[in-house]
């Protein structure tokens, strides 16, 4: 006889989740004990949903106890399936419908100023994540999930990719390290994940292994959108191999640095000034730029210190980074505002670009602003700034029409 299986969370402070206890067998038939915070409104719907899933799995005899704190349907389905497949390992996968609006792909060079980490086993933080408009959301299966919850988190993350609307944010998943991480891919690759974050990356072979697995899964489930990879450099060895990693594959679009682990690895600790990680961050910026991809900075962990965050973002931008992780939705705005070109930068770029076009029109070999010569890289940077400003609605696309 199979053993009792558990999944989900309960207790004080737990919201939008449920805890499932499943005892296979028993005196006969399905015995369902449901205690729900939303019994009056959804008790009937929850019971129907649970019975339908049990029916899908052809389970006829079991005792099921559920404590529900207002879980949405994709969460209930994930918790129940995790418990069922724990109790009956031979059972197949149960997929909830994929929301039509979740089928989008993302562009290789899209903005990646902010990416919001969401613990992979905490549904309450996932539901409204997209309304804060981060550039990306990360469903984290790695450090944010306790070791004994790793398995059930996979079902939740899969159902989140299918059933929760992130309102256009790039849908990212941070997989675990090593073999477990490769197995994580089975739960996310077929469900339109846009980008895989690869933690503790030290060798290009790790990127190759992920790509091999993606290809393998893709043969069974044809993929409609590209899946990008963002390796995270979190060790001295990773820093030394940053360029080979950044250029390991065509679908590597960004290279991130994780400073908590990195500073531990080099035997120091993280400071606000960041002197200890200056080399590592420079390496990541240089490796990414050399490979033609986006360098992405580490998270700023004091969620209450918005001024500190703003300062950190400005430093990060000055070093050449294109984006940063965040661990709280409040950080998104600050990150966007400070990575985006400032009014001053846009003004300057407009002058340079206008001078550039004027020089072109007059067929002059050199661009000049007043008596000052402008070098081609400066023009290129100004063009990038203008492009970004237009993309962020900070500048009208046809600004040159009114530019005197």
């Amino acid at each position: 006889m199979e053993e009792v299986a558990f999944a989900g969370n309960k207790g004080k402070g737990v919201r939008s989740d449920c805890f499932v206890e499943l005892a296979p067998g028993g005196p006969g038939g399905i015995q369902l004990e449901l205690v729900s915070k939303v019994e009056v409104m959804y008790g009937k719907a929850i019971r129907e949903e649970i019975l339908a899933i049990l029916n899908f799995f052809s389970i006829q005899d079991a005792l099921i106890k559920i404590e529900d704190s207002g879980a949405l349907s994709p969460v209930i389905a994930a918790r129940l399936e995790a418990a069922i497949r724990n109790a009956y390992p031979e059972k197949k996968e149960h997929l909830i419908p994929m929301l039509e609006q979740n089928r989008y792909g993302t562009a290789r060079d899209r903005n990646r100023f902010s990416r919001l980490y969401l613990p992979g086993n905490t549904p309450s933080l996932m539901i409204n994540a997209g309304i804060h408009r981060p550039d990306g959301i990360i469903l984290d299966l790695e450090d944010a999930v306790a070791p004994d919850k790793k398995n059930e988190a996979r079902y939740l993350v899969r159902n989140a990719l299918r059933g929760i609307d992130f309102y256009g944010a790039e849908r990212m998943v941070r997989i675990n390290q090593g073999e477990r991480g490769l197995d994580d891919l089975d739960f996310v690759v077929p469900h339109n994940v846009n980008l895989i974050l690869l933690p503790k990356c030290e060798h290009p072979e790790q990127v190759h292994a992920v790509n091999a697995r993606i290809r393998e899964i893709g043969q069974l489930h044809p993929l409609s959108n590209p899946i990008w990879i963002m390796p995270i450099i979190e060790s001295a060895l990773g820093v030394m191999n940053a360029y080979p990693i950044a250029s390991a594959a065509e679908n590597v679009v960004a290279l991130a640095i994780g400073l908590e682990d990195y500073t531990a690895d080099i035997g120091t600790r993280r400071t606000a000034e960041g002197t200890e990680s200056f080399f590592a961050r420079s390496m990541v910026v240089n490796a990414a730029r050399a490979a033609g991809i986006q360098p992405i900075d580490s998270v700023f962990s004091d969620v209450a210190d918005m001024e500190g965050l703003a300062l950190n973002v400005r430093r990060s931008k000055a070093m050449g980074f294109d984006g940063m992780g965040c661990i709280h939705p409040r950080q998104i705005r600050v990150i966007h505002d400070n990575f985006a070109p400032s009014a001053e930068e846009i003004d300057k770029a407009k002058k340079i670009v206008a001078a550039f076009h004027e020089a072109e029109a007059k067929d002059l070999g050199v661009v000049a602003l007043g008596s000052k010569m402008i070098d081609p890289p400066v023009v290129k940077r100004a063009l990038n700034t203008i492009q970004l400003a237009v993309k962020l609605n900070k500048l009208d696309q046809n600004w040159r029409e009114d530019y005197a």
Partner: protein, 519 residues
């Protein structure tokens, strides 16, 4: 005596009794439609000859005072809620009543709090017949389960003053807990260990009750200045060791929200006001004490500061955020109904521009005007709204009575009323086809701000016009409801019996809706 009788359908389409606790009641007739004739109520004439020449009205105990006031079966006893969840006085009144074997009292608080849960035993044993005021938390559940002997009556702060003034409710004995008092009964809320800022909710009680008892833990020699409550209304003064728990009076529940979802609601609400042109030099606003409302106040402050504007006045409840705005010169006056923290108390005490108000000046619908109609922007909450913009603040979607009305109904008369509310809370959608309990008619509610979109009441064509082309997500209320149901599923309605357990009064004393016993 039957709890209620003679059910009719009122002008809002709700089924309500026209006899409540043995007295006739008028069903809601529409906003501004009911205009009663006659004179106001008045307390009995008394003579100075019956009061001590030395002005010393202090008696030995609360029990003695209640006996001297002639406490007997069936009386109405009133208290105020300026001590919020730190009140130590209401319970003692009914301890005395129980000890004296008194029955069938009506408790008439300006609001109840979780600290009043122990009164359930007196509702069970018949010491208290019923409550008119608010039934929060455990008292609400007790009421919803049909256990209260009489019918509960919920009124707004303004409606409470109206009921007293019009004689709908006759207070036999008012017990007014006062942080400071002199032996004559002049009292205030700004000084003393239980300082709560002001005593405005007890004003009507002092003016209209047959007997008035001041209970204080800070007796000062005559004169007690300022005299927010005037001793000329007071019969007896009782001195106790402690009348309130300071940390629960000025509770820490009034902090700016840290919830990112609520901050988004606050930001969108403020941006809405700005884009719709509701904020201007000299404007006025009321932002309540909830975390979201407080955050909106901070966004307002940013806008005022940036433009070099000032608000002419802000309506309290006040707290440190509002006080800071005034001290920074962003607000000329705070017209305050209650103070939520020590900064509010300090400011009320020391700053003449921080004005203590009462339900009479701010909210009373049967007066020659009141301030609530003068406020430009009003931010309020709700447990539910419906597709016609009607709102509920007293019951939850599961049908349980859990909150009072407070000043909410009265504030609906502001020029633009905005409700920032999450589209769903732990799967429970906030926008329904029809509210479980009607507390505010939709014609007074202008804008619903949710984290997934903003709905403008179709009656406000001016706002709809102004917000055309806004980058804010303006949607219809039906769209929002649909969006919530796509995420949460369509909810079932709670099951009720046809037994009424409480009624909701409108600001004019008419009966707006009934609360039914849950099945």
């Amino acid at each position: 005596m039957r709890k209620y009788d003679k059910m009719v359908t009122n002008a809002a389409g709700r089924i309500v009794p026209t006899v409540i606790n043995g007295k006739p009641a008028v069903p809601f007739m529409g906003i501004g439609k009911y205009k009663p004739a006659g004179n106001k109520a008045a307390p009995p004439i008394v003579s100075c000859a019956d009061f001590p020449d030395d002005g010393n009205k202090v008696v030995g105990s609360l029990k003695e005072a209640l006996i001297k006031c002639g406490l007997k079966d069936g009386m109405t006893l009133s208290t105020h809620h300026h001590f919020r969840n730190g009140d130590l006085v209401a319970g003692q009144i009914f301890d005395v009543a129980k000890e004296l074997g008194i029955k069938d009292l009506m408790w008439f608080p300006s609001a109840s709090f979780p600290c009043h849960e122990p009164l359930i035993k007196y509702l069970e044993d018949g010491t208290i017949n019923h409550i008119e005021g608010s039934m929060n938390g455990a008292l609400g559940r007790f009421t919803s389960e049909g256990k209260m002997k009489g019918l509960g009556v919920l009124r707004s702060h303004g409606g409470r003053y109206q009921a007293i003034q019009d004689g709908d409710v006759h207070i036999d004995i008012a017990v007014i807990a006062a942080p400071s008092s002199d032996p004559f009964g002049n009292a205030n809320g700004v000084n003393g260990p239980a300082a709560c800022g002001l005593l405005g909710f007890a004003l009507g009680d002092s003016q209209y009750a047959d007997k008035v008892i001041i209970v204080t833990d800070n007796l000062v020699p005559f004169p007690c200045i300022p005299w927010q409550i005037q001793g000329n209304y007071v019969d007896y003064v009782v001195v106790l060791d402690q009348i309130g728990i300071p940390e629960k009076i000025v509770s820490g529940t009034t902090e700016v929200t840290k919830s990112p979802d609520r901050l988004l609601l606050a930001e969108w609400s403020a941006r809405f006001c700005d884009e719709a042109g509701l904020i201007h030099d000299g404007f006025s606003f009321q932002a309540g004490a909830g975390g979201t409302s407080l955050s909106i106040g901070i966004y307002f402050a940013d806008i005022l500061r940036e433009r070099g504007w000032k608000a002419r006045f802000a309506r309290g409840g006040s707290n440190k955020y509002l006080v800071r705005m005034m001290e920074e010169g962003l607000v000329d006056y705070i017209l305050d109904g209650q103070t939520f923290d020590l900064d509010g108390v300090r400011s009320m005490r020391d700053n003449p521009a921080h004005v203590n108000t009462s339900p009479f000046t701010s909210y009373n619908y049967h007066g020659k005007g009141n301030f609530s109609t003068l406020v430009d922007v009003v931010i309020l909450g709700a447990t539910e709204v419906d597709v016609n913009f009607n709102a509920n603040v007293v019951t939850h979607s599961d049908g349980l009575l859990l909150h009072g009305i407070g000043g909410w109904q009265n504030c609906l008369f502001g020029k633009t009323v905005i409700l920032p509310i999450p589209l769903f809370r732990d799967r429970i959608p906030v926008i329904r086809d029809e509210v479980t309990t009607l507390c505010g008619p939709g014609e007074l509610i202008d804008v619903i701000v949710t984290e997934r979109g903003i709905a403008i009441n179709p009656r406000r064509t001016d706002l709809i016009e102004k917000m055309k082309g806004s980058s804010l997500p303006i949607k219809t209320i039906e769209q929002l409801k649909q969006e919530a149901e796509q995420i949460c599923g369509a909810p079932e309605k709670p099951l009720f019996t046809d037994e009424v357990v409480a009624v909701i009064k409108w600001v004019d004393g008419t009966v707006l809706d009934s609360v039914f016993k849950i099945a």
